[in-house]
Protein backbone atom coordinates (compact mmCIF):
# COMPACT_ATOMS: atom_id res chain seq x y z
CA UNK A 1 0.00 0.00 0.00
CA UNK A 2 1.06 3.56 -0.67
CA UNK A 3 -0.30 7.00 0.19
CA UNK A 4 -2.32 9.00 -2.31
CA UNK A 5 -3.56 12.54 -1.92
CA UNK A 6 -7.34 12.16 -2.10
CA UNK A 7 -8.49 15.70 -1.38
CA UNK A 8 -7.23 19.13 -0.35
CA UNK A 9 -9.19 21.98 1.20
CA UNK A 10 -7.98 25.22 2.67
CA UNK A 11 -9.19 28.10 4.76
CA UNK A 12 -8.20 31.75 4.75
CA UNK A 13 -9.18 34.02 7.65
CA UNK A 14 -11.73 36.71 6.94
CA UNK A 15 -9.61 39.81 7.65
CA UNK A 16 -7.40 40.99 4.82
CA UNK A 17 -4.70 43.56 4.20
CA UNK A 18 -4.12 44.75 0.65
CA UNK A 19 -0.97 46.00 -0.98
CA UNK A 20 -2.65 49.41 -1.28
CA UNK A 21 -3.17 49.38 2.53
CA UNK A 22 0.52 48.56 3.07
CA UNK A 23 1.69 51.19 0.57
CA UNK A 24 -0.30 53.77 2.55
CA UNK A 25 1.45 52.66 5.77
CA UNK A 26 4.93 52.56 4.18
CA UNK A 27 5.14 55.59 1.85
CA UNK A 28 8.71 54.69 0.76
CA UNK A 29 7.32 51.64 -1.05
CA UNK A 30 4.69 52.15 -3.75
CA UNK A 31 1.97 49.58 -4.37
CA UNK A 32 3.62 48.94 -7.75
CA UNK A 33 6.97 48.21 -6.13
CA UNK A 34 5.44 45.85 -3.56
CA UNK A 35 3.52 44.08 -6.31
CA UNK A 36 6.60 43.78 -8.53
CA UNK A 37 8.70 42.28 -5.74
CA UNK A 38 6.14 40.05 -4.07
CA UNK A 39 3.43 39.30 -6.63
CA UNK A 40 0.98 39.61 -3.74
CA UNK A 41 -2.06 41.89 -3.74
CA UNK A 42 -3.85 40.62 -0.65
CA UNK A 43 -2.95 38.79 2.56
CA UNK A 44 -5.44 37.20 4.96
CA UNK A 45 -4.81 37.93 8.63
CA UNK A 46 -6.09 35.90 11.59
CA UNK A 47 -8.20 37.71 14.17
CA UNK A 48 -6.65 38.44 17.57
CA UNK A 49 -8.39 35.45 19.16
CA UNK A 50 -7.97 33.15 16.14
CA UNK A 51 -5.24 30.51 16.42
CA UNK A 52 -3.60 28.39 13.72
CA UNK A 53 -5.58 25.44 15.12
CA UNK A 54 -8.84 27.34 14.48
CA UNK A 55 -7.86 27.81 10.83
CA UNK A 56 -6.96 24.11 10.65
CA UNK A 57 -10.37 23.13 12.07
CA UNK A 58 -12.10 25.23 9.40
CA UNK A 59 -10.02 23.62 6.63
CA UNK A 60 -10.65 20.10 7.96
CA UNK A 61 -14.37 20.73 8.26
CA UNK A 62 -14.41 21.69 4.58
CA UNK A 63 -12.93 18.27 3.82
CA UNK A 64 -15.65 16.57 5.81
CA UNK A 65 -18.52 18.60 4.34
CA UNK A 66 -17.15 18.07 0.82
CA UNK A 67 -17.79 14.35 1.27
CA UNK A 68 -14.12 13.45 0.78
CA UNK A 69 -14.16 11.64 4.12
CA UNK A 70 -15.72 11.69 7.55
CA UNK A 71 -13.93 12.25 10.86
CA UNK A 72 -14.41 8.53 11.63
CA UNK A 73 -12.24 7.63 8.62
CA UNK A 74 -9.14 9.35 10.01
CA UNK A 75 -6.66 7.20 11.90
CA UNK A 76 -3.75 9.64 12.09
CA UNK A 77 -3.53 13.43 12.45
CA UNK A 78 -0.34 15.28 11.51
CA UNK A 79 -0.33 18.96 12.40
CA UNK A 80 2.42 21.14 10.97
CA UNK A 81 2.69 24.52 12.67
CA UNK A 82 5.10 26.91 14.35
CA UNK A 83 2.14 28.55 16.12
CA UNK A 84 0.85 25.84 18.50
CA UNK A 85 -1.94 26.62 20.96
CA UNK A 86 0.29 25.81 23.95
CA UNK A 87 3.77 24.56 24.80
CA UNK A 88 1.82 21.53 25.92
CA UNK A 89 -0.43 19.67 25.31
CA UNK A 90 0.11 18.72 21.67
CA UNK A 91 -2.23 20.76 19.46
CA UNK A 92 -2.89 17.74 17.21
CA UNK A 93 -4.45 15.97 20.22
CA UNK A 94 -6.75 18.93 20.78
CA UNK A 95 -7.63 18.86 17.07
CA UNK A 96 -8.54 15.15 17.31
CA UNK A 97 -11.11 16.05 19.92
CA UNK A 98 -12.41 19.21 18.23
CA UNK A 99 -12.85 17.43 14.90
CA UNK A 100 -14.54 14.33 16.33
CA UNK A 101 -11.80 12.01 15.11
CA UNK A 102 -11.76 8.63 16.90
CA UNK A 103 -9.60 8.35 20.02
CA UNK A 104 -7.92 5.36 18.36
CA UNK A 105 -6.18 7.77 15.97
CA UNK A 106 -2.56 8.80 16.37
CA UNK A 107 -1.83 12.52 16.49
CA UNK A 108 1.34 14.57 16.55
CA UNK A 109 2.57 18.09 15.91
CA UNK A 110 5.66 18.82 13.90
CA UNK A 111 7.37 22.18 13.86
CA UNK A 112 8.40 23.19 10.37
CA UNK A 113 7.69 26.17 8.15
CA UNK A 114 7.86 26.38 4.39
CA UNK A 115 9.20 22.83 3.95
CA UNK A 116 6.49 21.38 6.22
CA UNK A 117 4.11 20.10 3.56
CA UNK A 118 6.82 17.99 1.92
CA UNK A 119 7.80 16.50 5.29
CA UNK A 120 4.11 15.87 6.02
CA UNK A 121 3.75 13.97 2.76
CA UNK A 122 6.87 11.95 3.58
CA UNK A 123 5.58 11.09 7.06
CA UNK A 124 2.19 10.15 5.61
CA UNK A 125 3.74 7.87 3.00
CA UNK A 126 5.82 6.24 5.75
CA UNK A 127 2.84 5.74 8.06
CA UNK A 128 0.66 4.29 5.30
CA UNK A 129 3.21 2.14 3.48
CA UNK A 130 4.33 0.61 6.79
CA UNK A 131 0.75 -0.22 7.72
CA UNK A 132 0.67 2.07 10.76
CA UNK A 133 -2.18 4.12 9.35
CA UNK A 134 -4.59 3.98 6.45
CA UNK A 135 -6.08 7.49 6.34
CA UNK A 136 -3.98 10.46 7.37
CA UNK A 137 -5.25 13.99 7.89
CA UNK A 138 -2.31 16.30 7.20
CA UNK A 139 -3.03 19.77 8.54
CA UNK A 140 -0.76 22.74 7.88
CA UNK A 141 -1.61 26.03 9.56
CA UNK A 142 0.21 29.22 10.40
CA UNK A 143 -0.52 32.63 11.88
CA UNK A 144 2.80 34.37 11.27
CA UNK A 145 0.94 37.71 11.29
CA UNK A 146 0.99 37.51 15.10
CA UNK A 147 4.81 37.44 15.04
CA UNK A 148 5.19 40.43 12.70
CA UNK A 149 5.97 43.90 13.98
CA UNK A 150 3.44 46.32 12.43
CA UNK A 151 6.28 48.58 11.23
CA UNK A 152 8.41 45.86 9.60
CA UNK A 153 7.53 46.19 5.92
CA UNK A 154 10.08 43.54 4.90
CA UNK A 155 7.84 40.80 6.30
CA UNK A 156 4.38 42.36 6.41
CA UNK A 157 4.33 42.61 2.61
CA UNK A 158 5.04 38.89 2.25
CA UNK A 159 3.27 36.72 4.83
CA UNK A 160 -0.41 35.80 5.12
CA UNK A 161 -2.23 33.41 7.44
CA UNK A 162 -3.92 30.22 6.26
CA UNK A 163 -4.52 26.54 6.88
CA UNK A 164 -4.78 23.58 4.53
CA UNK A 165 -6.21 20.11 5.13
CA UNK A 166 -4.86 17.32 2.95
CA UNK A 167 -6.40 13.86 3.01
CA UNK A 168 -4.02 10.99 2.31
CA UNK A 169 -5.36 7.47 2.03
CA UNK A 170 -3.92 4.04 1.36
CA UNK A 171 -4.16 2.92 -2.22
CA UNK A 172 -3.26 -0.46 -3.60
CA UNK A 173 -0.93 0.47 -6.43
CA UNK A 174 2.39 -1.04 -7.41
CA UNK A 175 4.41 2.14 -7.66
CA UNK A 176 4.28 4.86 -5.01
CA UNK A 177 2.28 7.91 -6.09
CA UNK A 178 4.38 10.11 -3.82
CA UNK A 179 8.15 10.02 -3.91
CA UNK A 180 10.98 9.60 -3.95
CA UNK A 181 11.69 12.19 -1.29
CA UNK A 182 14.81 14.22 -0.69
CA UNK A 183 15.38 16.31 2.42
CA UNK A 184 17.86 18.83 3.75
CA UNK A 185 18.55 20.78 6.94
CA UNK A 186 21.08 23.44 7.88
CA UNK A 187 20.61 24.90 11.34
CA UNK A 188 23.44 27.37 10.73
CA UNK A 189 20.78 29.41 8.93
CA UNK A 190 18.47 29.45 11.96
CA UNK A 191 19.24 33.05 12.97
CA UNK A 192 18.26 34.36 9.52
CA UNK A 193 14.54 33.62 9.98
CA UNK A 194 13.64 33.54 13.62
CA UNK A 195 11.37 34.66 16.42
CA UNK A 196 14.15 34.93 19.00
CA UNK A 197 12.12 34.98 22.22
CA UNK A 198 9.21 33.17 23.80
CA UNK A 199 10.76 29.70 23.83
CA UNK A 200 12.98 28.06 26.43
CA UNK A 201 16.24 29.58 25.14
CA UNK A 202 15.22 33.20 25.60
CA UNK A 203 12.04 34.02 27.51
CA UNK A 204 10.19 37.24 26.72
CA UNK A 205 11.18 40.14 28.95
CA UNK A 206 10.77 43.89 29.08
CA UNK A 207 14.15 44.16 27.41
CA UNK A 208 13.25 41.77 24.57
CA UNK A 209 10.08 43.77 23.89
CA UNK A 210 12.09 46.95 23.29
CA UNK A 211 11.71 48.16 19.71
CA UNK A 212 14.67 48.94 17.46
CA UNK A 213 14.97 50.28 13.94
CA UNK A 214 17.28 48.62 11.43
CA UNK A 215 19.44 50.41 8.85
CA UNK A 216 16.64 50.44 6.29
CA UNK A 217 13.91 51.79 8.57
CA UNK A 218 12.16 48.56 9.52
CA UNK A 219 11.11 48.43 13.16
CA UNK A 220 10.91 45.24 15.21
CA UNK A 221 11.73 43.87 18.66
CA UNK A 222 13.27 40.66 19.93
CA UNK A 223 9.76 39.33 20.34
CA UNK A 224 8.88 39.73 16.68
CA UNK A 225 9.88 37.77 13.60
CA UNK A 226 13.19 38.68 11.98
CA UNK A 227 13.94 37.68 8.42
CA UNK A 228 17.13 38.48 6.57
CA UNK A 229 15.78 38.58 3.03
CA UNK A 230 19.24 38.52 1.38
CA UNK A 231 20.40 35.52 3.48
CA UNK A 232 17.19 33.63 2.71
CA UNK A 233 17.60 34.43 -0.99
CA UNK A 234 21.18 33.18 -0.87
CA UNK A 235 20.09 29.97 0.87
CA UNK A 236 17.37 29.44 -1.72
CA UNK A 237 19.84 29.82 -4.60
CA UNK A 238 22.00 27.22 -2.94
CA UNK A 239 19.36 24.70 -1.83
CA UNK A 240 16.62 24.69 -4.44
CA UNK A 241 18.49 23.99 -7.71
CA UNK A 242 20.57 21.34 -5.90
CA UNK A 243 17.39 19.75 -4.50
CA UNK A 244 15.81 19.62 -7.94
CA UNK A 245 18.95 17.92 -9.29
CA UNK A 246 19.05 15.45 -6.38
CA UNK A 247 15.40 14.53 -6.81
CA UNK A 248 15.73 14.07 -10.56
CA UNK A 249 18.80 11.87 -10.06
CA UNK A 250 17.09 9.83 -7.34
CA UNK A 251 13.97 9.30 -9.46
CA UNK A 252 15.80 8.71 -12.73
CA UNK A 253 13.81 11.51 -14.36
CA UNK A 254 14.74 14.58 -16.35
CA UNK A 255 13.38 18.09 -16.05
CA UNK A 256 11.40 17.50 -19.23
CA UNK A 257 9.52 14.57 -17.61
CA UNK A 258 7.86 16.90 -15.11
CA UNK A 259 4.46 18.28 -16.15
CA UNK A 260 4.05 20.87 -13.42
CA UNK A 261 6.40 22.40 -10.87
CA UNK A 262 4.78 23.54 -7.62
CA UNK A 263 7.32 25.25 -5.40
CA UNK A 264 6.78 26.88 -2.03
CA UNK A 265 5.19 30.20 -2.92
CA UNK A 266 7.75 32.43 -1.20
CA UNK A 267 7.36 35.54 -3.34
CA UNK A 268 7.14 36.14 -7.06
CA UNK A 269 10.58 37.67 -7.45
CA UNK A 270 12.30 34.65 -5.90
CA UNK A 271 10.19 32.18 -7.86
CA UNK A 272 10.82 33.97 -11.17
CA UNK A 273 14.55 33.87 -10.54
CA UNK A 274 14.54 30.19 -9.58
CA UNK A 275 12.41 29.26 -12.59
CA UNK A 276 14.76 31.02 -15.01
CA UNK A 277 17.85 29.60 -13.33
CA UNK A 278 16.48 26.07 -13.55
CA UNK A 279 15.34 26.54 -17.15
CA UNK A 280 11.69 25.66 -16.41
CA UNK A 281 9.20 26.97 -19.00
CA UNK A 282 6.68 29.41 -17.46
CA UNK A 283 3.71 27.27 -18.54
CA UNK A 284 5.03 24.41 -16.39
CA UNK A 285 5.68 26.55 -13.33
CA UNK A 286 2.66 27.13 -11.14
CA UNK A 287 2.38 30.40 -9.21
CA UNK A 288 -0.48 31.06 -6.82
CA UNK A 289 -0.02 33.73 -4.18
CA UNK A 290 -1.64 36.90 -5.50
CA UNK A 291 -4.62 36.75 -3.17
CA UNK A 292 -3.19 35.00 -0.14
CA UNK A 293 0.56 35.75 0.09
CA UNK A 294 3.21 33.46 1.51
CA UNK A 295 1.24 31.22 3.86
CA UNK A 296 4.33 29.23 4.95
CA UNK A 297 3.54 25.48 5.16
CA UNK A 298 0.21 25.88 3.35
CA UNK A 299 1.46 27.46 0.12
CA UNK A 300 2.03 24.15 -1.69
CA UNK A 301 -1.33 22.50 -0.82
CA UNK A 302 -3.18 25.74 -1.63
CA UNK A 303 -1.39 25.96 -4.99
CA UNK A 304 -2.01 22.24 -5.64
CA UNK A 305 -5.72 22.64 -4.95
CA UNK A 306 -5.87 25.58 -7.33
CA UNK A 307 -3.90 23.72 -10.02
CA UNK A 308 -6.26 20.74 -9.71
CA UNK A 309 -9.31 22.97 -9.98
CA UNK A 310 -7.87 24.52 -13.13
CA UNK A 311 -7.24 21.11 -14.66
CA UNK A 312 -3.47 21.61 -14.59
CA UNK A 313 -2.89 18.17 -13.03
CA UNK A 314 -4.77 15.71 -15.23
CA UNK A 315 -4.65 11.99 -14.47
CA UNK A 316 -1.24 10.57 -15.24
CA UNK A 317 0.62 13.86 -14.91
CA UNK A 318 3.73 14.23 -12.80
CA UNK A 319 4.29 17.19 -10.48
CA UNK A 320 7.44 18.19 -8.64
CA UNK A 321 6.85 19.75 -5.22
CA UNK A 322 9.66 21.69 -3.51
CA UNK A 323 9.50 23.29 -0.06
CA UNK A 324 12.25 25.43 1.47
CA UNK A 325 12.68 27.97 4.23
CA UNK A 326 12.95 28.49 7.99
CA UNK A 327 15.40 26.21 9.75
CA UNK A 328 16.95 26.11 7.22
CA UNK A 329 14.91 23.16 6.10
CA UNK A 330 14.03 21.90 2.65
CA UNK A 331 12.52 18.93 0.90
CA UNK A 332 11.20 17.85 -2.47
CA UNK A 333 9.16 15.04 -3.91
CA UNK A 334 7.32 13.90 -7.02
CA UNK A 335 3.56 13.42 -7.09
CA UNK A 336 1.87 11.26 -9.70
CA UNK A 337 -1.72 12.28 -10.20
CA UNK A 338 -3.13 8.95 -11.31
CA UNK A 339 -5.38 8.81 -8.25
CA UNK A 340 -6.31 12.47 -8.24
CA UNK A 341 -9.68 11.79 -9.84
CA UNK A 342 -10.92 11.30 -6.30
CA UNK A 343 -10.23 14.92 -5.46
CA UNK A 344 -13.58 16.52 -5.05
CA UNK A 345 -13.85 20.03 -6.54
CA UNK A 346 -15.95 21.37 -3.70
CA UNK A 347 -17.32 24.89 -3.80
CA UNK A 348 -15.09 26.06 -1.01
CA UNK A 349 -15.85 29.63 0.14
CA UNK A 350 -12.13 30.12 0.63
CA UNK A 351 -11.30 29.21 -2.92
CA UNK A 352 -9.81 32.07 -4.83
CA UNK A 353 -8.21 32.50 -8.20
CA UNK A 354 -4.80 33.86 -9.15
CA UNK A 355 -5.19 34.86 -12.79
Amino acid sequence: MHAAIRAIEYHLPENTISTADLAAQFPDWSAEKIDAKTGIECRHIAATDECASDLAVAAAQKLFTSGACSPQDIDYVLFCTQSPDYFLPTTACLLQDRLGIPTTAGALDFNLGCSGFIYGLGLSEGLISSGQASTVLLLTAETYSKFLHPRDRSVRTVFGDAAAATLLAATNVGEPLLGPFIYGSDGAGGPNLIVPTGGSRQPRTEESAREYEDATGNVRSGDSLFMSGPEIFNFTLSAVPASVDRLLAKSGRTLGDIDLFVFHQANRYMLDHLRKRLGIPPEKFYVFMKNCGNTVSSTIPIALKSAMMEGRLPEGSLAMLVGFGVGYSWGATLMRSSEMRNVLPSKSPGLISDP
Binding site: K37, S154, G229, N234, L237, Y269, H273, R277
Partner: protein, 84 residues
Protein backbone atom coordinates in the same frame (compact mmCIF):
# COMPACT_ATOMS: atom_id res chain seq x y z
CA UNK B 1 25.91 50.32 -26.64
CA UNK B 2 28.40 52.95 -27.82
CA UNK B 3 30.60 51.81 -30.73
CA UNK B 4 34.05 50.85 -29.50
CA UNK B 5 32.95 49.44 -26.16
CA UNK B 6 34.84 46.33 -25.21
CA UNK B 7 32.87 43.36 -23.90
CA UNK B 8 33.93 44.13 -20.36
CA UNK B 9 32.84 47.75 -20.79
CA UNK B 10 29.47 46.55 -22.10
CA UNK B 11 29.03 44.26 -19.13
CA UNK B 12 29.93 47.06 -16.77
CA UNK B 13 27.46 49.39 -18.50
CA UNK B 14 24.71 46.73 -18.29
CA UNK B 15 25.31 46.31 -14.57
CA UNK B 16 25.27 50.06 -13.96
CA UNK B 17 22.02 50.45 -15.93
CA UNK B 18 20.45 47.58 -13.99
CA UNK B 19 21.60 49.11 -10.72
CA UNK B 20 20.07 52.45 -11.81
CA UNK B 21 16.76 50.62 -12.09
CA UNK B 22 17.18 48.77 -8.80
CA UNK B 23 17.90 52.05 -6.99
CA UNK B 24 15.06 53.80 -8.84
CA UNK B 25 17.42 56.31 -10.47
CA UNK B 26 17.17 57.78 -13.98
CA UNK B 27 19.02 55.61 -16.55
CA UNK B 28 22.67 56.59 -16.86
CA UNK B 29 22.94 58.06 -13.35
CA UNK B 30 25.50 55.69 -11.85
CA UNK B 31 29.16 55.84 -12.91
CA UNK B 32 30.74 53.66 -10.23
CA UNK B 33 32.38 55.74 -7.50
CA UNK B 34 29.05 56.65 -5.81
CA UNK B 35 28.65 55.80 -2.13
CA UNK B 36 25.87 53.26 -1.57
CA UNK B 37 24.81 54.74 1.76
CA UNK B 38 23.62 57.84 -0.07
CA UNK B 39 20.81 55.99 -1.85
CA UNK B 40 17.42 55.85 -0.15
CA UNK B 41 16.47 52.68 -2.02
CA UNK B 42 19.60 50.69 -1.12
CA UNK B 43 17.70 48.30 1.15
CA UNK B 44 17.29 44.54 1.52
CA UNK B 45 15.09 44.41 -1.58
CA UNK B 46 17.79 46.15 -3.62
CA UNK B 47 20.43 43.81 -2.21
CA UNK B 48 18.37 40.79 -3.32
CA UNK B 49 17.86 42.32 -6.76
CA UNK B 50 21.61 42.82 -7.15
CA UNK B 51 22.28 39.26 -5.98
CA UNK B 52 19.84 38.01 -8.64
CA UNK B 53 21.54 40.18 -11.26
CA UNK B 54 25.02 38.84 -10.44
CA UNK B 55 23.70 35.28 -10.46
CA UNK B 56 21.82 35.63 -13.76
CA UNK B 57 24.27 37.73 -15.72
CA UNK B 58 27.64 36.59 -14.37
CA UNK B 59 26.90 33.30 -12.64
CA UNK B 60 28.29 34.75 -9.41
CA UNK B 61 26.72 33.88 -6.05
CA UNK B 62 27.10 36.84 -3.70
CA UNK B 63 27.17 36.41 0.06
CA UNK B 64 25.12 39.09 1.83
CA UNK B 65 27.85 39.51 4.46
CA UNK B 66 30.40 40.37 1.78
CA UNK B 67 27.97 42.80 0.19
CA UNK B 68 27.45 44.61 3.48
CA UNK B 69 31.12 45.56 3.48
CA UNK B 70 30.80 47.31 0.09
CA UNK B 71 30.92 51.09 0.32
CA UNK B 72 30.61 52.10 -3.33
CA UNK B 73 28.94 50.93 -6.50
CA UNK B 74 32.35 49.88 -7.83
CA UNK B 75 32.89 47.71 -4.73
CA UNK B 76 29.67 45.90 -5.60
CA UNK B 77 30.69 45.45 -9.21
CA UNK B 78 34.06 44.01 -8.18
CA UNK B 79 32.29 41.51 -5.94
CA UNK B 80 30.12 40.50 -8.91
CA UNK B 81 33.28 39.94 -10.97
CA UNK B 82 32.60 42.91 -13.20
CA UNK B 83 35.72 44.70 -14.47
CA UNK B 84 35.90 48.14 -12.90
Amino acid sequence: MPIGDTISQMIRREFLMALDEILELPPGTLQGPEKLEGFAHWDSTAVISFMALADSNNGVRLAPREMSSCETVDDLLRLAKVDV
